[in-house]
């Protein structure tokens, strides 16, 4: 698949000398949903701002749909919709007017039928003539999305769309994202909620301290990085882990009824067969077995903590 957004050796150094992005390379494929995961201050927003034209890059190049975002900014930006992290809206305007304004800025002729449909999809149709200042926080976020979608973009940037929103809106948001994907819109989403990335993204990029540590298919990332846990429930509780089994670094539950073994799921030898044999040899009787994949959260914490 062709890359719709291509970032090459992007560096952003702020006036104070702070390097927000250090030689970032990123290829985003047409039609995918990619989540950029990283702690606060990792450079997620700076990366998005630079792609969208809000900040100038110090060096490096960016293309969107094959158009350079500086030289050919009109063609590049026409493809992009941006939902910013901060709720920045003109308080005294009505919902419909601000959305209409956004559409106009992107050079599209007025089309109130299209905008009405958009507002309906976002459950904003009964608020269309309300002033922004009278809306709740969640409603304002919906207005931001409506503005970003008002010109029918092919690439949508969502900068921490669900930071501080309630469960209902979050699920609404995920539904909207899913519908957009079906229409072929590419979605780039930044978040520090791992479950969000896990729930909707195809690929996940991990970003920390201005560098992209890795970009991988969500499932591949989880298998490659994933540790698995094997929990063995015992017929009879054991007092302590038998000495013959110390090499396995087993963890005994408080009541002694189960023990847990951690292993790399993708390793050539998981050591499970050997463990089970040794277990039987040391006289422990198994009642049940359970294996569990570690979550993205655990993977992520492991990645960001490790010294790069």
């Amino acid at each position: 698949m062709a890359a719709i957004v291509s970032v090459k050796n992007l560096v952003k150094r702020y006036d104070g000398g702070f390097e927000a992005l250090r030689a970032v390379n990123l290829e985003i494929e047409d039609g995918e949903i990619i989540a950029l995961l990283g702690p606060n201050g990792a450079g997620k927003t700076t990366l998005i701002s630079t792609i969208c034209g809000i900040t100038n890059a110090t060096s490096g190049s960016i293309t969107v749909g094959g158009h350079d975002v500086v030289r050919d900014f009109r063609a590049a930006r026409a493809l992009i919709g941006l939902v910013p992290q901060e709720v920045n809206l003109e308080p005294f305007e009505t919902v419909l007017n601000t959305v209409r304004f956004s559409r106009g800025l992107f050079g599209k002729p007025r089309n109130d039928a299209f905008l009405d449909g958009l507002l309906r999809d976002l459950s904003l149709d009964d608020k269309r003539d309300n002033k922004i200042m009278t809306l709740s926080g969640g409603m304002k976020r919906r207005v931001l999305i409506a503005k970003a979608l008002s010109h029918d973009p092919r690439v949508l940037f969502l900068d921490e769309p669900t930071a501080g929103v309630d469960v209902e809106l979050r699920q609404d948001m995920w539904r909207i994202v899913e519908r957009l994907r079906q229409n072929g819109v590419t979605i780039i989403l930044t978040t520090h909620y791992i479950e969000e990335a896990e729930a909707i993204a195809d690929r996940i990029g991990v970003i920390a301290k201005g560098e992209i540590l890795l970009v991988e298919e969500k499932s591949a990332l989880m298998t490659r990085m994933g540790q698995k846990e094997l929990t063995i429930e015992l017929q009879h509780p054991c007092e302590a882990i038998p000495e013959a089994l110390t090499a396995y670094n087993l963890e005994r539950s408080a009541d002694g009824c189960s023990i847990t073994y951690r292993y790399e799921a993708t390793g050539d030898r998981t050591g499970i067969t050997r463990l089970l044999n040794d277990l039987a040899a040391s006289g422990l009787h198994m009642k049940d077995l359970e294996t569990k994949q570690s979550s993205l959260e655990e993977i992520f914490v492991g990645l960001v903590k490790e010294p790069a």
Partner: protein, 253 residues
């Protein structure tokens, strides 16, 4: 050229104006009426004609200029500062628009508002004094050019300003004194020779003089010099704005 964007910005800005129509409309009318009471009736009765024009009529072009300059500057500076302040500027910067479209939209709206107020004052003035307009074409040209050039100046101030205080600073410390010392209420030929020379460094003198010429056919300075002055001022402002957007100064950092 993204004309839809220009239209969107222009209409959005004009909507703000119409929301506060009473305020935008009533305050210039009241202040003009006050000027006529003070300068026209109270002081004017003791002043003979200035260059063959009754004093009441003589101050009309200066009064119009005074309001137009301050209104154009204020509207344009606020127009671009407000999105910066509340953060909605992100949308302008990420839209497929160039500095030209943004400038035309904001400056056009601010100039329109100033023009509207200028016309209101002119109409108000006719209730107090008899006005003749020697050259309506020149009058309109000066009025429009002043609206546009001071809106451009205001636009620059709005981008430069980092807080509301700075937003008020230049209009208060620079524009108001220049306008008052620019011959709005007197002919600079009434000043001592030293001050006449100093006045020539005040750009507003050229605008007021040219504007007054279009009414009465008399001026402190040749009309061509006035036209040249306002055109140069407009070009200078445009050049600064072009530089601002090219470098991203105070916007894209």
């Amino acid at each position: 050229m993204n004309f839809a964007a220009i239209k969107a910005i222009y209409l959005f800005e004009m909507a703000r104006f119409f929301r506060t129509l009473t305020q935008s409309f009533v305050s210039p009318v009241i202040s003009t009426a006050l000027y006529f009471v003070v300068f026209g009736a109270a002081i004017g009765s003791r002043i003979q004609e200035v260059e063959g024009v009754s004093y009441g009529a003589f101050i009309v072009p200066g009064l119009v200029m005074l309001s137009v300059m301050t209104q154009a500057t204020q509207n344009a500076s606020f127009g671009i500062y407000f999105p910066k302040f509340i953060g909605t500027i992100y949308e302008l910067l990420s839209a497929p628009v160039s500095f030209l479209e943004i400038t035309i939209g904001y400056v056009g709206a601010a100039a329109t508002k100033a023009l509207f107020i200028g016309v209101v004052i002119l109409v108000t003035a006719t209730f107090f004094v008899d006005l003749t307009i020697v050259s309506p074409l020149a009058m309109i040209a000066f009025l429009v050019l002043t609206c546009v050039s001071f809106a451009l100046l205001g636009f620059i101030i709005g981008i430069w300003a980092g807080n509301f205080e700075q937003l008020q600073l230049i209009p208060l410390l620079v524009i108001t004194p220049l306008v008052f010392l620019g011959g709005s209420f007197y002919s600079i030929s009434m000043l001592p020779p030293v001050w006449q020379t100093i006045s020539l460094f005040n750009p507003v003198v050229y605008l007021v003089s040219g504007f007054r010429w279009s009414f009465f056919g008399v001026a402190d300075l040749p009309i061509g010099v006035s036209l040249l002055a306002i055109t140069s001022f407009t070009v200078l402002c445009l050049a600064i704005i072009w530089w601002i957007f090219r470098t991203g100064w105070r916007i894209r950092n």
